[in-house]
């Protein structure tokens, strides 16, 4: 292909050169006779030189564009490659030129990446599945032990606390299974019109109760009537998840503010809480699995460390977006945007 383009360029330059030389020498002969050398040269330059320049710039631009177009297409296609579409190949021309070879190499690379990603996902899925059988046995046997009425109180406490840890492990394994399945595209949501404002009000009640123990004050700023197309169970999970974080990572006597503002095309749900917050450099990693934003909580955190990853998956599965802003020791705000079906301000 490169040969073709350079051939065309060379040929056209030659043609222009020959024509110019021809014209130039002819005119020159005539002008020498008429003794109007300078004027003639000017005319020649104006009538032949300028169009030639314009033509070569235009032609060159056109040729370069044509030559580079496949590169631009390839760049655009590569830009679209992410961990979600590694199984898609870039389109090839199969004409065997350099760009086609490059595309082939890139396709082979994404295929290798895809294979490794799939292996990791499969591993997580199988690992969490395999862990469930021994966990079921351990939980079941421990619970059976605990049901023995002749146990003395200290043994009972010991076994019960072991069961607590087993249940926490089960929660982590369940969270991992959920995410691994979501990665593999194995989860289908049951979508139906859902009144988001009712879910928010419902959770607001629960949050108030959860917050009571740490003397937090919870306010519902606004709650516009909003209908979204969603899986109600997953939205409840999302709300409780975010609320639980707002309570857990708060400070004694702190506040939580919840708002649901509806607008076309997206409803905006915000949950803000006081507390230590997350340092700016850690913020981008906050949705990562098992990432703990606040080292101070490391030792005492309940829950499974997958809450925000699960929240992020739920929002993405509903074609929405989630983001966090945080000013350490002041306010941390989670914003969720979900596409709405209908809305009207309350």
């Amino acid at each position: 292909m490169t040969l073709w383009y350079s051939g065309v360029l060379l040929l056209s330059t030659l043609v222009i050169g020959i024509l110019c030389f021809d014209e130039l020498s002819e005119r020159r002969e005539r002008s020498v006779k008429a003794n109007k050398g300078m004027e003639e040269i000017l005319v020649i330059v104006l009538w032949i030189g300028l169009p030639a320049v314009v033509l070569s710039i235009g032609g060159g631009w056109w040729l370069m564009r044509k030559a580079l177009a496949p590169v631009a297409t390839l760049t655009e296609a590569m830009r679209g490659v992410s961990d979600r579409n590694l199984n898609q190949e870039l389109p090839r021309t199969h004409n065997g030129d350099e760009l086609d070879q490059l595309t082939e190499v890139l396709n082979a690379m994404t295929a290798r990446l895809n294979a490794s990603f799939t292996r990791i996902k499969d591993f997580t899925l199988h690992a969490s599945h395999e862990l469930k059988t021994p966990l079921t046995v351990l939980c079941g046997e421990t619970e059976t032990e605990l049901r023995d009425e002749s146990l003395n109180p200290s043994d009972r406490e010991r076994i019960a606390s072991r069961l607590d840890e087993l249940r926490r492990m089960a929660l982590i394994v369940n969270g991992l299974t959920l995410l691994a399945k979501a990665d593999a595209g194995l989860i289908t949501l049951t979508l139906a019109p859902v009144r988001l404002d009712e879910l928010v009000r419902d959770s607001f009640g629960d949050i108030q109760i959860l917050a009571e123990a740490s003397a937090l004050s919870v306010t519902l700023l606004n709650c516009d009537r909003t209908t979204v197309k969603a899986d109600a169970h997953r939205l409840r999970q999302l709300l409780l998840n975010l609320a639980d974080n707002a309570v857990k990572y708060n400070q004694p006597g702190g506040t939580i503010q919840i708002g649901l503002a509806s607008a076309d095309p997206a409803a905006e749900l915000t949950i803000s809480n006081t507390g230590p917050g997350i340092a700016a450099n850690l913020l981008p990693r906050i949705f990562e699995r098992f990432f703990r934003g606040d080292p101070a909580h490391n030792g005492s955190v309940e829950g499974c460390g997958l809450g925000l990853s699960i929240a992020q998956w739920i929002v993405a599965a509903h074609k929405g977006s989630i983001s966090i802003k945080s000013v350490p020791n002041q306010l941390t705000t989670v914003t969720v945007r979900l596409p709405v079906l209908e809305s009207q301000p309350a």
Binding site: K132, V137, C139, T144, S161, N174, T177, E302
Partner: protein, 225 residues
């Protein structure tokens, strides 16, 4: 009441049997699908606990064949996969309930109980325990001579506990019945509500009715005299 447990994992089958026996059921266990498939034709069962992954025939195809043969015995499906699709698939195949592994025994027992008393439920409109009463029509709750004000959620929690009087209620079952959650949120929501409810119906009264069984769940009952 006789229950059949079809579960290939021997330890799991064994503690399921113990838990159900403790509830007063007679329990038979099969460890593979082919054996389990024919068992109900020899013995009449009141309920069947069926694992999905089995050697021989798998749980779902066993269930479909039973239902095609008009066998209507209540079935509780157990599964280690535990996703939404499988839940729907299981219920479509004719299961009456579904429980993902790992589960709490108290949840399993509650579900089997619900299956075996289906239809025979008492339809009393006023639930009573000692001097505590709950009117399901007027939604009025009284303990002794005092009226008790409950929020909607607290009311539903108490109603569920009173419907299960004397029986252990696990956290998951409570979340499902009272909150309509199909997931374990991993919060102490239930414990916090139980504490509030206890403050309203128990703290100022004797005898105490709402009891916590550490590690297992809650039970509403009159203490043995």
């Amino acid at each position: 009441m006789r229950v059949l447990v079809i579960e290939d994992e021997k330890k799991t089958a064994s503690f399921i049997r113990k838990a159900l026996q403790a509830e007063g059921y007679a329990v038979d266990v099969c460890h593979d699908g082919d054996e389990g498939f024919v068992a109900p034709s020899a013995t009449p069962y009141d309920a069947i606990v069926l694992d999905i992954m089995l050697p021989g025939r798998d749980g779902l195809s066993i269930l479909r064949r039973w239902r095609q043969g008009h066998n209507r015995i209540p079935v509780l499906l157990l599964s280690a996969r535990g996703d939404v699709i499988e839940r729907v698939e299981g219920l479509d195949a004719g299961a009456d309930d579904y429980l993902p592994k790992p589960f709490a025994l108290v949840e399993l027992a509650a579900r089997v109980r619900a299956l075996t008393r289906r239809g025979g439920d008492t339809k009393a409109t006023v639930l009573r325990l000692a001097d505590l009463s709950l009117d399901t029509i007027t939604r009025r709750v009284r303990r002794g001579e005092s009226d008790i004000e409950l929020t909607a959620r607290e009311y539903r929690l108490l109603e569920y506990l009173m419907q299960s009087t004397g029986r252990l209620c696990g956290r998951m079952m409570i979340l499902e019945k009272v909150w309509d959650y199909d997931f374990d949120p991993g919060t102490n929501l239930v414990d916090v509500y139980i504490r509030r409810l206890r403050g309203k119906i128990d703290t100022a009264f004797e005898p105490k009715l709402l009891h916590t069984v550490r590690g297992i769940g809650y039970v509403l009952k009159q203490p043995p005299a």
